[in-house]
Structure formats: structure tokens, C-alpha cells
Amino acid sequence: MTRTSALLIVVVVVIVCSSLAMFAIPNGAWLANVPQRDRERVNPYRDQPDAVAAGRRIFLDHCAHCHGNDAEGTKKRPSLKSSRVQQEATDGDLHWLLVNGNRGQGMPSWIKLGDPQIWQVICYVKSLH
């Protein structure tokens, strides 16, 4: 093996190990990590029936395969009808979670949906209480 090849392999190993190390952080309670200003954000679609219907479509497309079609959760993923989601978490908290995800626990970021769709899906989730 040439010196260049060995160097390249070392670079790849360092990249992989760095990523693993950075994610070896315990989950913790995501709710406690939400900044105050995010927690207080107001859902611009709140109380709009069309937003709930649109949010349901988004939920079935993107969320149901992990959280279940009825949002009751699955073997590995939590229910969205829990008191944590329905009572403790504000719309702003859920928006922060959907934007940032919780990658260490398998929850991806959904920022690619854009703010309007994120707020719409929150309308739907909150309508499930």
C-alpha cells in the first residue's frame, strides 16, 4: 500500500470516528433544550380547519410510518397523543423539534418541509388530544 493510500484511509477513518463520537451524546429530554423564544412562537395556522386537514395529509406522508397512522406510536417510536406532546409541549416546542430533529434517537429534521407545512402538521397533531 502506498503512503498516499494509507493517508486516505486514515482520513476516512477519522471522519467516521469523529461523527460517531459527536453523536454519542445521551438523548436527554428534548423539551428541556428548547430555547424560550422558540417555545413562545405562535402557530400562524392555529384554529384553521384547512390547516388541520392539510396537516393530516403531511402527517400520513411523512410521520405515520414511524408514529402510526393513528399517531399512537409504534414499537420503537413514541405516541403523539401523550401528555408530553399534547399538554406539556407548546406549538413552538414542537416546531423546534421538527426543525432540529433528534437525530441521535432517529428523529430526522423536517426543515425541508418549510415553515408553513411544519405549522400545519402541528395543527393536526394538536387536534388529536
Binding site: 482520513v11 459527536m22 451524546i25 392539510a54 406522508d61 402510526g68 434517537q105 408553513p116 407545512q117 400545519q120
Partner: protein, 276 residues
């Protein structure tokens, strides 16, 4: 009647062909994509380059992809050109103004014409070499990328910086890619629709070579720029198209790119008896 969720995915994807965004594949999902590019190099034969891509989300921060490449050149032959395996790692867990992703790929190809990236002095002369001769040139390469991506007011803006090293001892080659895109409508409709604005994403993509370690810069490099669009069908299939224009005489004048992709959600769960 409601379809099972894994048949019902309308996954939103950015309409890029060369540029990588900061988005990772969702854990457990398998995305199957077919990319194609058609070109007609001046003084050479028209070609169709294709690859089939299997992209799997291992973790929220780790996506792996496997490619099978091939090409068909008019008046010459249709050949399998090789394979590639790539891994992407997202080092920061939360969203930031700019989100970095680290990328490492090993490729073993020859006579490849898929043009999934442009580095070094890749350009028109490479496409004038007949297949029988080009196949003798085995390219075993390591490709590293720094991917930077931002989401701002519905826009995705992504930049890639590429460094590629051929194990045969060639110097490091460099390249870049840039893409920006946005859905035509950000909010979802209350009712199912097929051709409504939210189903379309439009954008622009630019990429090219930046020379190599012996001569960094734009001389003798190919550069491409073009609009791009995709549409997500109600069954979850995404179709994308982009005409991309060579910006200098070292580039192929026009490339027509199109792709079809489909995502299977929670792929492995279909093999479990208790899977949903």
C-alpha cells in the same frame, strides 16, 4: 381506503442532479433512484449515461449509498461502467444557519459517462475517447466532499466542495457544485392534488472543475449551469428534469438530465413479522 404508509410516501426531494444538500435519508428508508444524462459532444458520439442508486438511512446522521453505473454510446457500445459506494455523515445534530455534511466515496469505474460530478480537467476530450479504449483506463478513486446547506424562507441553498484522488497516483483534483431550489408553494393543500404547485420544486444548479493540485483554477475545466425542476406524483414517485448548458468550449454544449426516484419507508420492517 387508506393505503399502507409505505406505499403512500410523497417524499419531498430537492431537484438536484449533481449537488448534494444537507438532507440525510430518513433512518430505515430506502430510496431507489435512476439518474440519466444525455449528451452530444462536438466531434463525438451521442451518449446516454445512467446509474441506479440505492440510498439507505442507517442513522439520522449517517446515510449510505450504492451505485451501479452504465452508459450507451451511439455507434459504439452499451457497457457497465462500474460501481460506487458513498457515505455521508452529518456532524452537527441541530439545524444551523449553515449545516455541514462530510462525504466520502469510493468508486471503481471506467468509461463512466454519468457525470455525477465534475472535477479537475474533466471535459469534452474525455467524451471523444471510444469506449473500447476508455474501458482500459480503470479509475479507482476516493472522493471527499464538504457539503454545506441552508434552508432560508423555503429556499434550499447548497454548496459542495469536492476533492478527488485517483489511487493510481494522479494528483488531487478539485471541483464544486452549487444549487438553489424552492417549492412553487410552501403550504400544503387541504385536499389531495396531482399537479398543484406544492408538488413542484424548481431551482438552478451550477457545477464544474477547479483544476488539480498541479494547477488549481478554471483553465481547461468544464462548467455547467441550468434550471431544474421536479414533480412528486401522488404515488410518491418523483420525476426530475434539467437541461444544463456548458459555459465554455471545454464543456459539452448541452446535457439533458432526467431521473425517477421512489422511496420505500422503513424498508427492513417489511421483512419482520411484527412490522407494520
Amino acid at each position: 381506503m387508506m393505503l399502507p404508509s409505505y406505499l403512500n410516501c410523497r417524499c419531498q426531494e430537492y431537484p438536484y442532479f449533481v449537488t448534494y444538500s444537507q438532507e440525510m435519508e430518513e433512518p430505515g428508508n430506502l430510496d431507489i433512484e435512476m439518474f440519466n444524462v444525455v449528451g452530444n459532444p462536438q466531434g463525438g458520439n451521442s451518449f446516454l449515461g445512467s446509474d441506479v442508486e440505492f440510498e439507505y438511512g442507517l442513522k439520522g446522521w449517517w446515510t449510505t449509498e450504492f451505485y451501479l453505473d452504465g452508459q450507451a454510446t451511439q455507434n459504439e457500445s452499451t457497457i457497465f461502467t462500474g460501481l460506487r459506494w458513498e457515505n455521508r455523515f452529518r456532524p452537527l445534530s441541530r439545524e444551523h444557519w449553515i449545516n455541514p455534511v462530510l462525504y466520502a466515496e469510493f468508486e471503481d469505474t471506467s468509461a463512466d459517462k454519468t457525470i455525477r460530478e465534475v472535477v479537475g480537467h474533466d471535459g469534452l476530450p474525455d467524451f471523444l475517447v471510444p469506449n473500447w479504449l476508455a474501458r482500459m483506463d480503470k479509475e479507482r478513486e476516493l472522493e471527499l466532499k464538504l457539503i454545506l446547506g441552508s434552508n432560508v424562507h423555503g429556499w434550499n441553498i447548497s454548496e459542495n466542495f469536492i476533492a478527488e484522488k485517483n489511487f493510481a497516483g494522479d494528483p488531487w483534483e478539485f471541483g464544486y457544485a452549487f444549487g438553489a431550489s424552492r417549492p412553487l408553494q410552501l403550504a400544503a393543500s387541504a385536499h389531495e392534488c396531482t399537479f398543484c404547485a406544492e408538488k413542484f420544486q424548481v431551482g438552478v444548479e451550477m457545477y464544474g472543475g477547479l483544476g488539480d493540485a498541479n494547477g488549481f483554477g478554471l483553465p481547461l475545466t468544464s462548467q455547467y449551469l441550468g434550471p431544474t425542476i421536479n414533480w412528486t406524483a401522488p404515488n410518491g414517485m418523483t420525476v426530475a428534469f434539467s437541461p444544463q448548458f456548458g459555459l465554455n468550449g471545454y464543456s459539452i454544449p448541452v446535457l439533458y438530465r432526467f431521473s425517477v426516484s421512489y422511496e420505500i419507508q422503513q424498508f427492513l420492517s417489511h421483512f419482520h413479522r411484527s412490522g407494520q
